[in-house]
């Protein structure tokens, strides 16, 4: 906290890359976002986390000026999202969540076309990206798998080295191997100091690349946290199997244990924060099996709301 304020006083107040102020966009059939405000600083990787239908795609399409807010304002690079949309898009790379490409063209034709429209994209940059992702450019889009289509979309988003990347669920529905390829390429892109706005419904994906994360549910931004803090606060779930029936009182007294359920020879623990104390104590007992798992997104939300209520 002290460190943060020192940093702040030393550096000049940089203009945020994205500044969303009180934006509302509601749909008749439900969905949309309500009074949303958030900022993304230069060079920051911002994760936008929420279940499907929470308003992530709505927010992203508002940034791109594909849809317009009914209230509030959006500034990107200090420019007005609607009036200066073309100037903004010159500096933004976008991967749609529901990616659709020109089915009758080849990947090469699609990327060539988009590169021409973007302007100043050397073709070698496109072929380099395609090679990194192991993407075959000659094939028609309609013959490509989900993963390969997504790769075409990612090359399209990265070409021209945009200052801000807006990625809507970039690895959703991809097999783990391709997910890793995509993460590698994204990490390389972010290491060059670009700002990224990344939406996902998977905590682990956001945690892997983002600095800060905003939780959105039912169209409202629940909280914005640093990823490290979020992870620390979020409970881990530990299942332990013992040789004999464990003593509940002993387990409850271990550091960070928030909940404890005993079922025969098994104990199910919910542990917040540092796991070392708990795992150390368990390891020293007569346990025979141990599994630790990450909280799911829903469990994360519950942890957040529990905290809000207890305050």
């Amino acid at each position: 906290m002290l460190q943060a304020s020192v940093l702040h006083s030393e550096s000049p107040p940089a203009q945020p890359v994205v500044q969303i102020d009180g934006v509302t966009k509601l749909y008749r059939g439900g969905g949309g976002v309500r009074a949303l405000s958030l900022r993304i600083e230069p060079g920051e990787v911002f994760g936008f986390l929420g279940p499907n239908g929470a308003g992530k795609t709505t927010t992203i399409r508002l940034l791109l000026d594909l849809i317009r807010p009914s209230a509030g304002s959006i500034r990107i690079f200090g420019l007005d999202s609607r009036r200066d949309s073309v100037a903004i898009r010159r500096r933004v790379g976008y991967l749609p969540g529901d990616l659709a490409l020109y089915e009758r063209l080849s990947a090469r034709e699609v990327l060539g076309h988009l590169a021409h429209l973007r302007g100043n994209v050397p073709w070698s940059e496109v072929t380099d990206l395609a090679e990194q992702l192991d993407l075959e450019l000659q094939r028609p889009i309609r013959t490509l798998s989900r993963g390969n289509r997504q790769k075409v979309g990612i090359v399209a988003a990265l070409m021209g080295r945009p200052e801000l990347l807006v990625l809507d669920e970039p690895t959703s529905g991809l097999d783990p191997l391709i997910q890793r390829q995509v993460h590698d390429v994204l990490r390389a892109a972010t290491s060059q100091g670009r700002s990224v706005f990344l939406s996902s419904h998977v905590l682990s994906e956001v945690a892997e690349v983002a600095d800060r994360v905003g939780l959105i549910r039912a169209g409202e931004l629940a909280t914005v946290e640093r990823v490290a803090e979020l992870r620390q606060r979020a409970a881990h779930l530990i299942d332990v199997r013992y040789e004999h029936e464990p003593d509940r009182e002993t387990l409850v007294r271990l550091p960070g244990v928030q909940r404890c359920v005993i079922e025969g020879h098994e104990a199910h623990l919910e542990v917040a924060g540092d796991l070392r104390g708990v795992v150390g104590a368990i390891a020293a007992s007569d346990m025979t099996d141990l599994s630790v798992r990450e909280p799911t997104l829903e469990e994360l939300f519950l942890a957040f709301y529990d905290r809000v209520e207890s305050h």
Binding site: L66, A100, L114, L117
Partner: protein, 274 residues
């Protein structure tokens, strides 16, 4: 892991070029169909040409029918083309093509959701509409030119002789009628994002336009309405017989530009692909 890409960037520099490329096979199909249609119409001509019985047959038709289908001097080249080609089928064939394609150009991109990658690039929505309309213009013009060449060049082989000027006037009339309703289809698609609605509305209005103009010859209460019919200003003025009517053509051209202006305005102020 050999080099799998050629060094040069592919062409497709503009949205117009890409839209034409996407429709390449469809365009080839329409061109083929149009040539076949012209050939069939021409092939029938020698049996009618100079056959006095056909003159008697036509004179035996009731007058209203003769008026609607412009059944006059059926045995001359221009008369035959007027009745068999330009009284209904050729202009409406071009119009069908223009409406189907015009409706798809802007709205189809939205329905297929490719509009997101398109508008991720720094192009304005107005540029999208203009370039899409240029694709429509190129497509309809190409088919118009093909029709003119097919009838003008192949006609003499079937003893059908018609002046290039008269033929051009008829083709330009058909072309402009088709372009107007193709632009309407594009505009409705741009304003609503709905391809089916654009297609239906433009087709219905094109047919209504044809019916009002042709039936007003017989039905007196329709006569005030016929000035609102674009068919009246393009085909009812008998371009084959009387040549270009620049005043009438400029009315249709202005209406077409008004449709385009509406498309530009409506597309710019709307939420896309919601």
């Amino acid at each position: 892991m050999s080099s799998r890409t050629s060094p040069a960037a592919p062409r497709l520099r503009t949205i117009t070029a890409r839209s034409l490329r996407e429709q390449r096979s469809s365009l080839v199909g329409w061109a083929g169909g149009l040539i076949v249609f012209c050939l069939v119409m021409l092939a029938v001509y020698p049996t009618i040409h100079g056959n006095a019985n056909f003159g008697d047959l036509i004179n035996a038709y009731p007058e209203p029918l003769r008026k609607i289908f412009q059944l006059e001097d059926y045995t001359t080249g221009a008369g035959y083309l007027r009745t068999e080609v330009f009284s209904f089928v050729a202009p409406l064939l071009l119009t069908l093509f223009a409406v189907l394609w015009g409706s798809d150009l802007v709205a189809g991109e939205e329905e297929r959701r490719t509009v997101d990658v398109l508008l991720a690039t720094p192009v304005s929505r107005r540029r999208v509409v203009i370039q899409k309309w240029l694709a429509l213009l190129v497509g309809v013009t190409a088919l118009g030119v093909l029709m003119e060449l097919a009838l003008g060049l192949l006609g003499p082989a079937f003893q059908l002789h018609v002046s290039w000027a008269a033929l051009s006037a008829a083709v330009v009339g058909s072309w402009l009628f088709a372009l107007a309703f193709g632009t309407l289809g594009l505009a409705v698609g741009a304003a609503t994002g709905r391809r089916g609605l654009a297609r239906g509305l433009a087709t219905t209005l094109a047919l209504a336009s044809y019916l009002v103009a042709t039936l007003s010859v017989l039905v007196s209460w329709l006569q005030p309405a016929r000035n609102f019919s674009l068919w009246q200003h393009t085909m009812s003025v008998d371009p084959l017989g009387t040549g270009f009517h620049y005043w009438h053509l400029s009315i249709v051209a202005l209406v077409t530009l008004a449709f385009l202006a509406w498309a530009l305005w409506a597309y710019d102020r709307r939420d896309l692909a919601t």
